[in-house]
Amino acid sequence: MTTFSVRTLSAVLATAAMSLCCSAPALADDVPSNSARIGLYSVFFHVKADDLSGPYVPPGANIDAQNVNTLYLGYVRRLSSHFDVELAIGYPPLQKTEGKGPAALGSVPYNGQVIATARWLAPTVLFEYKFFDENSKLRPYIGAGVNYTAFYDRNSTAQGNAVSGGPTKLSLTSSVGPAGTAGLAYNLRGHWNLYASYSISQVKTKLNADTAGVIRTTHISFGPQVFIASVGYSF
């Protein structure tokens, strides 16, 4: 997040949008320029968060995020025989956050309880280098780019309200961070390909929980590791 300003992101997204929207000159060798992909988007979090701070919070109260699966949607624009740009998103899943730390706060169960839910939208733009030539059946690739994550539909659950002390309003700052990927493309037949990839990105946010004016905060690094299995059509 420190190395990517919002302005940088805007430029990257604009570039990607131009790639999406504007027709490129026809390629001489007639290789399709576009690919649309759909598949499984599995997210495994490796959360590192500060203990919650604020009034009436016992030491060691922390949070964790449950792993989640959702629909992967991707659009890839061929730049050259070895370079692609990919816009990847997961259909915004219902993300569950659970308490981690003391078994109970007072007498209210905490550790392992789902205390909040939110949806996130996390488009990632990746510039990818593909190995081997374009006629290869199997093409490994690596890529690097930027991830933007926004959180919405943030809700404290009934259990979350119970541990927080009442109805709680949550806010989470949006995140911009670097992303990297490594994957394999396998040509099934003609325009159809199978893909498998493993990606990591940096997603950091500041959580602010307001319960009747009592504010608790923490900084969360989600450390998502994403496995994508997809099928794509080139055109």
Binding site: L105, S107, A150, Y152, P167, G213, F235
Partner: protein, 535 residues
């Protein structure tokens, strides 16, 4: 190409639209600042303890374990809510205040459903940050006491922190201001009744039964609240003011004439500032009342976020020297006999000229004199002259039947403030069952001068049996015998422990006496609960 892109665009668009979706909200802040308004609804729950956890937490400390013996095993869990509400200060200033709503919870039938409310007023506390709802703070012993005694036994507890404490922006505390403090009690009661159905403990509701109690300062507040609510036509199921300075005029006279109670150097700045802010005439400048040694900053000294012992150590208040050990010579024009009498009454208790016979408390009263001292002799003399010319009906040197107030309003402004806030004022007597509980030897709030006078004053005014007076220090007898035995045992155990720690019997006795006022509290509170349980 554009046709094929459409599904992705739709999906992206749909996702982005979702970003406008609603998120959960927190409590609403009331736009009204009218007194009695709940400022934040629903209120914040600081903690939720089930009966077993509460018992375990109490049992983890020695004082908690002792409290468990007196209060009994918790039958209910307790939810502790931090209530913010609007009230008014001593001069009608709007101010936000705060306090506790403790709600019994649990599956036991007496822990949920319609439950009675105990409206509780806490004792003098010098800690400006006091939040009686915050059960997580070890120093909140009074919060623990009322939670264990009442809430864990099925009573909903409502207790203000008082204006001038915690979040209140009032720059002083309206200490022993009967109108303000009773008004604040009624305001938090209204706010708590608004809050209760909205809390996380809404399975517990107000049964309509209302009990009022409080300790020390809170004893005065409880009685003033009982008076105000009765005057408004509200039905009070029962009241139990405890160890309170109810007969303020008589108490003030006793102190100014030498019965200097333990803690007087702390009570004095709280009292003078409270009455100065409300009546504006206690002094022209604080130096009229306070000695040059302590006058600087005295109006804003208490309550304070600084511990009391630090204030003593920093020389901002004397520990005990309320009055000048040099006796003022009183000269009443054309009345040499009165001059001599007043001069003698203003001498140090126990000294040859002091006319009141010695009691076990005399050495403690004498410790209220020294140098440097807090109160100027000139102010003390002006008070004494007023008291002599217009005596309180309970003055042992000029007693009148029924122990009434002074025949006419005093002219000395501090004594007039005491007169106004003395709970004999207006000739009120309770019309709801009332327990007055205290300890006879209490050196902090003198029992005979306060509880004793109210008993005498009310005696001809109320129906037989309506008022019960309990001295927990008395020979065990009657329905409260077990508590009286417990109290006496507690004092004996303290004495033994101090002596075992190497103190001389006299020094040990002195420490027991210094802790006496606090020692009475759990036993009287248990008596109050026993009294309420019969109503």
């Amino acid at each position: 190409m554009f046709k094929l892109l459409t599904p992705l665009s739709v999906a992206l668009g749909a996702a982005l639209l979702c970003a406008c979706g609603s998120s959960s909200q927190t409590s609403a802040v009331s736009p009204s600042t009218a007194h009695g308004t709940l400022a934040v609804n629903p209120p914040f729950r600081i903690a939720s303890l089930n009966a077993a956890t509460f018992q375990a937490e109490l049992g983890a400390t020695s004082t908690g374990a002792q409290l468990l013996k007196i209060a009994g095993t918790p039958a209910c869990g307790v939810d502790f809510y931090y209530v913010k509400f609007w009230t008014v200060g001593g001069a009608g200033e709007a101010t936000e205040s705060s306090g506790a709503l403790m709600v019994p919870t649990g599956a036991v039938p007496t822990c949920s459903g319609p439950r009675p409310i105990v409206l509780y007023a806490h004792g003098t506390n010098t800690d400006k940050t006091l939040n009686i709802a915050d059960i997580t703070i070890a120093s909140n012993t009074e919060g623990v006491l009322i939670a264990a005694m009442f809430a864990a036994q099925g009573y909903i507890v409502v207790a203000p922190n008082y204006a001038g404490y915690d979040i209140s922006t009032l720059g002083y505390h309206p200490f022993l201001n009967a109108e303000q403090q009773s008004g604040e009690m009624i305001d938090i009661l209204a706010a708590a009744r608004t809050a209760l159905p909205k809390t996380l403990s809404a399975a517990t509701s107000d049964s309509g039964k209302l009990f009022i109690t409080g300790y020390s300062e809170g004893g005065h507040v409880a009685m003033a609240t009982q008076r105000a609510l009765e005057a408004s036509g509200a039905v009070i199921t029962g009241a139990a003011p405890m160890s309170g300075p109810y007969a303020l005029e008589a108490f003030g006279d006793a102190i100014f004439f030498g019965s200097v109670n333990l803690g007087s150097t702390v009570f004095s700045p709280l009292l003078s500032t409270s009455y100065q802010k409300t009546y504006g005439n206690i002094y022209a400048t604080p130096g009229d009342l306070y000695s040059a040694t302590y006058v600087s900053g005295i109006e804003t000294l208490l309550p304070s976020a600084t511990p009391l012992n630090t204030l003593f150590a920093n020389g901002l208040l004397p520990q005990t020297a309320e009055f000048d050990s040099t006796t003022p010579i009183v000269t009443v024009p054309n009345d040499p006999a009165l001059s001599l009498q007043l001069t003698a009454l203003l001498s140090v208790p126990g000294s040859p000229n002091y006319p009141i016979p010695s009691t076990p408390l005399t050495p403690l009263f004498a410790a209220g004199f020294g140098s440097p001292y807090l109160i100027n002799n000139s102010y003390r003399v002006s008070y004494a002259l007023d008291a002599a010319s217009n005596p309180d009906g309970a003055n042992p040197l000029a007693p009148r039947a029924g122990a009434p107030l002074a025949a006419t309003p005093p002219t000395q402004p501090l004594r007039l403030a005491f007169y106004k806030n003395d709970l004999r004022n207006g000739g009120w007597a309770p019309n709801s069952p009332t327990l007055l509980c205290g300890g006879l030897a209490d050196p902090t709030v003198l029992f005979p001068v306060n509880t004793g006078i109210m008993k005498t004053f009310w005696s001809p005014l109320v129906q037989a049996g309506l008022i019960t007076v309990l001295d927990v220090n008395d020979t065990p007898a009657g329905p409260f015998a077990a508590l009286q035995t417990g109290f006496r045992t507690s004092l004996a155990m303290q004495l033994t422990a101090y002596e075992a720690g190497g103190l001389s019997p006299a020094a040990a006795q002195q420490l027991v006496l210094e802790g006496y006022h606090g020692s009475v509290a759990p036993f009287c509170t248990a008596a109050a609960r026993a009294f309420f349980s019969q109503l």
